[in-house]
Amino acid sequence: MQIIKRIGIAVMTLLLVTGLTFVLVHNMPGDVFEVIAYRIAQQQSITYEEALQQARAIIHYDPNVPLLTQFTEYAGGLLRGDLGKSVIFQQPVNKIVAEAVPWTVFVLSVSLLISFVIGTLAGMVMAWKRKTFLDPIVTTISSVTDAIPDYVTALLLMVIFAVNLRWFPTKGAYSSSTIPGFNLPFIISVMKHGALPIFVYILQGFGGWALLMKGSAVSVLGEDYIMAARARGLKERRIITNYLGRNALLPSVTALAMSLGGMLGGSVLVETVYAYPGLGWFFGQAVSMRDYGLMQGLFFLTATAVITANLLADLIYSRLDPRIRTGE
C-alpha cells in the first residue's frame, strides 16, 4: 500500500514539474521569443514567418488550440519517449541524450561510488576509534570543499593539472585520435579525460559522506543496544557490521538519492568547464543559446531521473528499516 502511495506521489511530482516547465516556456516574454525566431530564420535561411512557426512548434505553442490541449499533446509525446527537438543542433533531443548520457553516467557513477565508499568507511572509522588522524584531515577537507563551489574546484584543478602540469587533457570525453570501442587506447583516453571531472566530484562529496556517517555512527554507538550487544559477548566484527553498520547507514541511503539531484545540477558547470559532452554540458549550451526545445527535454529527463532516484531510495530505505515498514 505504501508503495503505491509513494509511486503516486512521484508521478504527481513529475507531472507538476512538467507542467511547470511547460507553463514557464509558454509564458516567455515576447521579445525573447522573437530573438529565437530570428535566429532560426538566419540559421535556415527561411522567412521570419516560417521561422516563427518552427519556433512555436518547438515549444508546442499553437495559439489556436487551448492550453490544456497543447499540454496534453506535449505530455503525450513525453510518454512516448519523445523529448522534443533541439534548435541549435538540429536533432531530436533523444539523439543528443543517447550520446550524452553515457558520459555523464560514467563520471557521476564512478565518482559517487568512490566518494561514498571511501567517505562512509572513513566516517565509520572515525566514530569507532574516537580520536584518529582522520579527524582533522576529514574535517579540513570537508570545510574547504564546503566553501569552494564545485565550479571553482573544477577550474582550479583544470588550471593546475591540465593546463600547467599537462597531466590531463583539457576538453572532450576522449581523444579523437582513438577509435571508440573496447580497445585499450580508447579506454585509457576515456579514463584520462574523465579523471579530472571525477576528481572534482569526489573532492566535493567525500567530506559530506564521511561526516554524515560519523555523526550517524556516533549516535548509534550511544544507543543502549550497542552496549547490550557487548554485554551479550557478541563478536566485535558482528557488532560493527550488523549492529552499528546497518543502523548507521540508514541516513546515508536517503542522502544518496538526494545527492544525485545535486550532482546533476552541478554537472552543468563542471562539464562546461571541462567541455565534457555530457548532459550538463548540453544543458549549459541550451541555456546560453536559448534552445528551449533542448532545455525542456533535458530538464524533463533530469527531473525524471532525480524523482525516480528518490522513489527508489524511499523504497529501499523502507526495506532496510523495519520500523518504517510497519509504522506510520
Binding site: V144, I148, M158, V159, N164, G266, A303, N310
Partner: protein, 280 residues
C-alpha cells in the same frame, strides 16, 4: 551581548569568520567610494601580476582587478542578502500557514515543498534566467529565492506542529484563548536562532548559485560582478590557458572562497551561541 562577545573570543575560528564577513561588508558598502573603477583599456597591460599600482593585477584588457573585486562585492552581497531575506520570508510564511492550517491545505503545500526539494534547483534557475531578463538585483534575488525556501518551510512547519502538540495549547483552548496567536508568539523566539544561522547559510548558497549562473553568461547586468569576471576569464579571454593570467582568474575565486569560509566559520560560532550544548 556580552555572552556573544565572550563566545566569539573563545572560538578563534568564529571570530575570524566574523572579521572576514565584516571586511566584505565594509568592502561592499564603502569600497566603491574609496576606489574608482579602472575604465581604460590598455591591451599592453593585460594579465599583469599584482603590483603596487594594481594590487591584484590586471584583466584581459589591462584594467585593475582589485577595483573590480571591490565593485563586484557590492553586487554579489546585495543579491545574496536580498535572496536570503526573500527565502526566509517565503519559507516562514508558507511553513507557518501549512502548520497552522493543517488539513488539505497543509497536504497540498507539503506536496509543493516536496517538488521544490526534489527537482534540482540549479538547472531550473538557469532556465528561468534564460527566459526572463534579469536586470537588477531584486529580480535576481527573486530568481534565487524562488526555489530555495523548501527546507525552511518544512522546518518552520514542524516547529509549529510540535508547538501545537504541547499541553499549554490545550489549556489555552479550554480557556478560550486563540491558539494561533499563542503559537505565533511561542514560535518566533524558538525559530529565531535557526533563522539567524540559516540566513548565513542561505546567503552562501545564493552566492554560489548567483556566481555560477553568471559564469554561464546569463545575467549580464553588471560586468564587474565576480561571476561575470569568471565568465570573462574562463570563456571569453582564455585566461585559463594563459599562465600569466592566473591572478586574474584567482581574484574572483579567492574572493568567493574567502567569503564562503568566513560564512562557515561564523555560522559555527553562531551555532554555539544559540545552542549552549555545543559549547566546549
Amino acid at each position: 551581548m556580552k555572552t556573544s562577545w565572550r563566545i566569539l573570543r573563545r572560538n578563534p575560528r568564529a571570530l575570524l569568520g566574523f572579521v572576514i564577513l565584516l571586511g566584505f561588508g565594509l568592502m561592499a558598502t564603502i569600497g566603491p567610494y574609496l576606489i574608482k573603477l579602472d575604465e581604460d583599456q590598455n591591451f599592453a597591460e593585460r594579465f599583469q601580476a599584482p603590483s603596487l599600482s594594481h594590487l591584484m593585477g590586471t584583466d584581459y584588457v589591462g584594467r585593475d582587478v582589485f577595483a573590480q573585486i571591490i565593485y563586484g562585492s557590492r553586487d554579489v552581497l546585495i543579491v545574496a542578502v536580498l535572496a536570503a531575506i526573500l527565502t526566509i520570508l517565503i519559507g516562514v510564511f508558507i511553513g507557518a500557514i501549512s502548520g497552522l492550517a493543517g488539513g488539505p491545505l497543509d497536504t497540498t503545500l507539503m506536496m509543493l515543498v516536496n517538488v521544490i526539494l526534489t527537482v534540482p534547483s540549479f538547472p531550473l534557475m538557469l532556465i528561468i534566467a534564460s527566459m526572463f531578463k534579469v536586470t537588477n538585483p531584486i529580480s535576481y534575488a527573486l530568481l534565487l529565492a524562488i526555489w530555495s525556501w523548501g527546507g525552511l518551510a518544512r522546518a518552520v512547519r514542524s516547529q509549529i506542529l510540535s508547538l501545537k502538540k504541547r499541553e499549554f495549547i490545550e489549556a489555552a483552548r479550554v480557556l478560550g484563548l486563540p491558539a494561533g496567536h499563542i503559537i505565533f508568539r511561542q514560535l518566533l523566539p524558538n525559530i529565531t536562532p535557526y533563522l539567524a544561522i540559516n540566513f548565513i547559510s542561505i546567503m552562501r548558497h545564493a552566492i554560489t548559485a548567483s556566481v555560477g549562473i553568471m559564469m554561464l553568461g546569463l545575467v549580464p547586468y553588471s560586468s564587474s560582478n565576480w561571476g561575470m569576471m569568471l565568465n570573462l576569464a574562463v570563456f571569453q579571454s582564455g585566461a585559463v590557458y594563459t599562465p600569466s593570467a592566473i591572478f586574474y582568474l584567482l581574484a574572483p575565486i579567492t574572493a568567493i572562497c574567502l567569503f564562503q569560509l568566513g560564512g562557515i566559520f561564523f555560522a559555527h560560532g553562531l551555532d554555539e551561541l544559540m545552542n549552549p550544548r555545543l559549547r566546549s
